[in-house]
């Protein structure tokens, strides 16, 4: 455990994520004792659990709250690791194993969502699984294997149940073992540029006790939320009221939304036109999401400065640009700013404008903090992300056109700056 002038708070986010995972295992096993997968039993057993079983509501609510808190702390953990460049050699595999754990966590969220077999779950799973149909060649086969048939049926629930309670937990525990082993072997990453061996803190008992204290804090927070808001805060995408039972012959209903952490993908699917460059919109969208996830996975190898133990402003900027990109899509997915609109079209424009303004405000605040507090001097990518939302939300260009223009502008400015810099350094020598 390196101690230094840097803030230590980021080092605890992995531990608290792990705590929420432990809560998930315990409450999950308890839920398993009442849950009966099946066409006539899945929904009914959850209803029985929450209405009749003593403290059944508590266990289910804890499982849901802890899932959301786990995703929040995991996302913060991942972004802080990214910003502090803790993926520098020799810790590349820690980044990759953490990245895979993140994907598995999303898989947990997605598969667990279907199990109560209610209306919302049915459509969320229909859309979510349908995305794999866009995979070239294998798509249709994958879709059938995932769903256990052509459509989402009770067979899908059986498969998701097996994944949620056996396959994913086994993979998760294995990867966590690897992740923790690497951390124990290599120690936690010191700040970038630290040359002298940093002052250390022993993991046991000093750090472990601090971790334990935070776990207690996490438990307090979890119990407070569970008791006062047993069905979630009531925000779309963060609410687990059981609602109506799934009915394949019922139409989807207005205001249907996925969980908040899938909102950005949901919104992106809406932003793609029906056809683009000879491919269908959903295929292009899947390609783009795949590309983004792929880049994220190999960051330790893309950041060449990290190899020299140098701080790369470009990659910090990339992280912030990613956050602004996610903020805009998530807000838009939430339909922020749609109230008071007279028509469907006006509402879409309003949402784009209001969300762009919020994103710009966040961008300006982040930039001020970065400029004065962290003394960052490279803002090309965050600039592009802000130009993107401004062109889309304020100037009314389509999301993709605005994005292409901003990316081109960023590439041009980045290349020019690099050229100027290499010239000026050439002049000096």
């Amino acid at each position: 455990m390196p101690i230094g002038t840097h803030w230590m708070g980021w080092y605890y986010l992995g531990g608290i994520t792990m705590f929420f995972f432990v809560v998930q295992v315990i409450t999950g096993v308890l839920l398993l004792m009442y849950f009966q997968p099946g066409e006539a039993t899945a929904y009914e057993s959850i209803r029985f659990l929450t209405t009749k079983v003593p403290f059944g509501w508590l266990i289910r609510s804890m499982h849901s709250w802890s899932a959301h808190l786990m995703i929040i702390s995991l996302t913060l953990h991942m972004f802080s690791t990214m910003m502090l460049k803790a993926y520098r050699p020799p810790r590349e595999m820690t980044w990759v194993s953490g990245y895979l754990l993140f994907l598995l966590t999303l898989g947990f969220g997605f598969s667990g969502y279907l199990l109560p077999w209610n209306k919302l779950a049915y459509f969320a799973t229909t859309v979510g699984t349908n995305i794999v149909a866009s995979v070239p060649i294998l798509g249709h086969w994958l879709l059938q294997v995932l769903r256990g048939g052509q459509d989402v049926t009770i067979n899908t629930l059986y498969r998701f149940f097996a994944a949620h309670v056996v396959i994913l937990p086994l993979a998760f525990v294995g990867l966590i073992g690897l992740h923790l082993l690497l951390i124990q072997r290599q120690g936690m990453a010191p700040p970038v540029g630290a040359t002298a061996a940093p002052r250390g803190m022993k993991f046991f008992p000093s750090f472990a006790l601090r971790d334990l204290l935070l776990w207690l804090g996490g438990l307090m927070l979890l119990l407070t939320l569970t008791v006062f808001l047993p069905y979630g805060p009531g925000i779309p995408g963060m609410d687990w009221e059981l609602g109506e039972k799934a009915n394949p012959m019922a139409p989807a209903y207005p205001g249907i939304k996925p969980e908040w952490y899938f909102l950005w993908e949901y919104q992106l699917l809406k932003e793609f036109p029906p056809h683009l460059f000879g491919l269908e919109g959903p295929q292009m969208c899947l390609l783009m999401i795949g590309l983004l996830f792929g880049i994220w996975a190999i960051i330790p190898w893309l950041d060449r400065r990290a190899y020299r133990n140098q701080y790369s402003q470009t990659f910090s900027d990339f992280g912030w640009a990613a956050i602004l990109f996610l903020i805009f899509l998530t807000l838009a997915g939430w339909d922020i700013g749609s109230s008071g609109a007279t028509s469907e079209l006006a509402s879409t424009h309003n949402v784009a404008r209001v969300c762009a303004l919020w994103t710009l405000a966040a961008g300006v605040a982040i930039t001020i903090v970065r400029y004065f507090l962290y003394e960052h001097r490279w803002f090309v990518l965050t600039g592009a992300a802000l130009l993107h939302v401004a062109l889309h939300g304020l100037a009314g260009l389509s999301y993709l056109v605005a994005g292409t223009i901003s990316l081109a502008a960023a590439a041009f400015i980045g290349a020019t700056m690099r050229l100027l810099r290499s010239r000026s350094s050439g002049n000096q020598t």
Binding site: F123, T126, I131, P248, M249, P251, I256, E280, P282
Partner: protein, 153 residues
């Protein structure tokens, strides 16, 4: 000279054994993987196929809501009524497969998931769907019943 020949024959023998080992390992893997892959691929759906008569309940729903969703040959089909005419389309949105609904006031078939809109011929009006909705044949029988069947083109 003799030594190299001996080592040559030794390497080629080793090479051969490696090949045999590799091939059998591959064969073993395939024999394990194939049954699992076949096991996971679901069987084709079984159930009634061909033209479907709307039940009395479904007809009542159609009268009341101006639309009803019914299974036809294992597919979800939306049947709608507009000015005494009956139409039928696949209820599976061509975008991401959500079940569409009908807005009688606007004569629009609407998918609430990603806001796709279709006209009364199944063509895309707005939103992200890349293809029109598949049309089904809806016929009113002399006795007032409604029969839905796949359209032959």
């Amino acid at each position: 000279m003799e030594q190299t020949a001996a080592s040559d024959s030794k390497t080629s023998r080793r090479h051969f054994l490696d090949m045999v080992l590799g091939a059998s390992a591959l064969g073993w893997l395939v024999s394990v993987a194939y049954p699992i892959i076949r096991y996971l691929k679901p069987l084709p759906q079984t159930g009634p196929t061909g033209p479907t008569h709307l039940t009395r309940d479904e007809t009542a729903k159609l009268e009341q809501n101006k639309f009803v969703i019914v299974p036809v040959s294992g597919q979800r089909v939306i049947v709608l009524q507009s000015q005494d005419e009956v139409f039928a389309f696949s209820a599976k949105c061509s975008h991401e497969g959500c079940t569409v609904t009908y807005l009688p006031g606007q004569s629009v078939i609407w998918c609430p998931c990603h806001d796709g809109r279709f006209d009364m011929n199944g063509r895309v009006l707005s939103g992200p769907p890349p293809k029109p909705l598949t049309k089904y044949l809806a016929q009113r029988q002399p006795d007032g019943g409604i029969v839905i069947s796949e359209e032959r083109t």
